[in-house]
């Protein structure tokens, strides 16, 4: 049997954007003496880093959060924040599925597997605040760098960029007040909650797939395995678990003296196995 914690990592540029999320997910300050302030909830399932503005900050904060929170490869990563938009100002939460780095023209294509009911937009990540709003595109200063790093730590499908339109040709950025930003994020918090639940469930599925079986950890603590024996042991335990999902492996190996005999015992049991296709679930 394996049990896993939810693992969501938030990368947010500004305190005024993060405030409603910190409150909603009941996070407290974890550390504020390092390069970035980090928050987390009591269960250590939700972690949030305040990255500050810009791509370098966002990339560094993402890496920092990954290390400090020991983010597993099945963690869901979310960047949420305000964005400019060269079109009608919508108040909804928007999902990004194309992100271009303005300075290089490089483009990445997040393929989010959640948020099917959200409108999808292209995002351009710029280095300096810009009044050059492109029709139909969102503009921010972090998205590209965040996605580039976080999608490698986890996967593209678990890395989500969410935006809320703040400024545009008729409402320049310098007139936007922090309280207004906090209000816009608070307004969509219920939507966000649903989305996060969806992501949490997918991440838990991935955790089951990617995590090392508990029995494996117990084996290598109990007996001494060489590195090739460890690989074999992991392979055999995975096999064992797919054949006998509810059987306790230790009931057959606990009396073994060394790694070699453990491997041979598991092998013997798994080799004998013939798949019962008729009664398989």
């Amino acid at each position: 049997m394996r049990e896993f914690n939810k693992a969501i990592r938030w990368v947010v540029a500004l305190k005024c954007e993060a405030e409603p999320i910190i409150q909603y997910f009941k996070m407290d300050c974890y550390i504020n003496t390092g390069p970035f302030s980090v928050f987390c909830d009591r269960e250590k399932e939700h972690w949030l880093v305040l990255s500050g503005i810009g791509q370098i900050n966002s990339a560094s904060a993402t890496t920092y959060l990954s290390e400090i929170s020991d983010a597993p490869p099945w963690a869901g990563w979310i960047n949420i924040g305000i964005a400019g938009y060269g079109g009608k100002k919508l108040k909804d939460l928007l999902l990004v599925d194309e992100v271009q780095q303005f300075s290089t023209g490089h483009t990445l294509y997040p393929g989010p597997v959640i948020g099917n009911n959200l409108r999808r937009y292209s995002l351009i990540t710029v280095d300096k605040p810009s009044k050059n709003y492109k029709q139909g595109h969102l503009v921010d200063m972090e998205g590209y760098a965040f996605f580039e790093i976080a999608s490698r730590l986890s996967s593209q499908q678990l890395t989500i960029i969410l935006k809320i339109i703040s400024d545009g040709p008729d409402e320049p950025l310098e007139l936007i007040k922090p309280e207004t930003v906090t209000e816009s994020i608070s307004r969509i918090i219920n939507n966000l909650k649903t989305l996060v639940q969806e992501l949490e469930n997918i991440c838990l599925g991935e955790a089951k797939r990617l995590a090392q079986p508990k029995a494996y950890k117990k084996c290598i603590q109990t007996w001494h395995f060489t590195s090739s024996q460890k690989t074999k042991c992991l392979e055999l335990i995975r096999k064992w678990e797919s054949i006998f999902p509810s059987k306790d492996l230790f009931s057959i190996i606990s009396m073994e003296n060394d790694a070699k005999s453990v491997l041979s015992k598991i092998s013997k049991h798994t080799q004998k196995y013939e798949i019962d296709w008729i009664n398989s679930d």
Binding site: D97, E98, T107, L108, Y109, G111, V113, N116, R120, S122, S151, R152, S155, Q156, Q157, L158, I202, E206, K208, R209, R238, K239, E241, S242, I243, P245, T270, Q271, Y273, E274, I275, D276, W277, I278, S280
Partner: protein
């Protein structure tokens, strides 16, 4: 449901692109330079993407028609394969595509006419050979026909040839394009089959075996040539009984005269592909079966493979002439 369509700039005005896009109304569209910018990115999660794949419309520039692997062959003197599409709407646990590609998105190459030209060139430059062209190596030939129109386009191309056979490999029961054509003597509709209990467990999202056999009967009745592909052969408890039941059902429902060819192939994976697939589905029972790690290809032990192949060949030869049976074993 396709939520997003990526379109290569180069083919954005191609008539086939436009007609495909017509079917998708207001689905989100994103222009891209090359399909590989989306498809080949390493940090994708195939398993997650499979639940929600996007469609990519692209042009295939090179390698349109390729020499088929040695193990392919249903009687022709030269064998080729071509793929108008990468990936598949079905989700078979043994499918090598899931271990080969980093993306589960569907790529459709819309420049069918360039495939036609390559095929025509090969046919014309080999007038004294019997050529076989296999479609459905990197996808299912028929499954996405309502979007791609691939079969509808390709059958007339082969109508012109005397010395070229087309094999359409499929698990689909979407027979519409075939029903609209007069059956062709140089086209084989090849169905992949395995015993019902195995298929129910391994062939996700595909039509059931009984539905496939019904489709085969119908096509046979109309005069289409049928290929039966028992590839991969899957081991398990009572496998002999399960295979015998399948063969009996086929014998009962498919007239011998309609059967162009039968092939059997053991379960084998290139090592890297196996590594990727078993990582995607570590809980899959198929990979817990009696597979052995031969140097290049995880497969059943040689004696198991041989026993299964011999058994199946013997039973098949009771209702299909030996000359129409092919053993598709790639060299290890």
């Amino acid at each position: 449901m396709i939520k997003c369509i990526y379109i290569e700039d180069e083919i954005k005005d191609h008539p086939r692109t436009l007609s495909i896009l017509d079917r998708f109304g207001s689905t989100r569209r994103i222009k891209i330079k090359r399909y590989g910018d989306v498809f080949n990115k390493k940090s994708q999660n195939f398993r997650l993407q499979k639940s929600n794949p996007a469609l990519i419309l692209a042009r295939k520039h090179q390698g349109l028609v390729l020499d088929a692997p040695d193990s392919f062959g249903i009687g022709g003197t030269k064998n080729y394969y071509f793929s108008h599409m990468f990936n598949c709407i079905y989700d078979c646990r043994y499918c090598f595509l899931q271990g080969m590609y980093s993306s589960a998105n569907y790529v459709v190459f819309v420049n069918y006419e360039d495939f036609d030209k390559n095929i025509e060139d090969l046919v014309n430059s080999n007038p004294n050979e019997n050529l076989t062209f296999f479609s459905g190596y990197d996808c299912d030939s028929l499954a996405l026909e309502n979007i791609t129109g691939f079969v509808e386009h390709t059958l007339p191309v082969f109508q012109k040839f005397d010395n070229a056979l087309l094999e359409l490999r499929t698990k689909s029961i979407q027979l519409k394009p075939l029903l609209e054509f007069t059956p062709m003597k140089n086209c084989v509709i090849a169905f992949s089959l395995m015993p019902r209990a195995m298929s129910d467990s391994l062939d996700h999202k595909t039509p059931k075996i009984s539905e496939r056999i019904k489709a085969i009967s119908k096509l046979a009745e109309l005069g289409w040539k049928i290929g039966l592909r028992f590839d991969p052969l899957v081991h398990g408890k009572d496998w002999k009984i399960l295979y015998k039941e399948l063969f009996d059902e086929i014998e009962l429902n498919v007239p011998e005269t309609a059967i162009h060819s039968v092939s059997v192939g053991p379960l084998r994976f290139p090592k890297n592909i196996f590594k990727n697939i078993s990582k995607l589905y570590p809980e899959e029972k198929l990979f817990a079966g009696p597979l052995v790690n031969s140097p290049r290809t995880p497969s059943y032990a040689e004696n198991v493979e041989k026993e299964m192949t011999d058994y199946c060949l013997e039973h098949i030869s009771r209702f299909v002439p030996k000359s129409a049976i092919f053993n598709c074993v790639s060299s290890n």
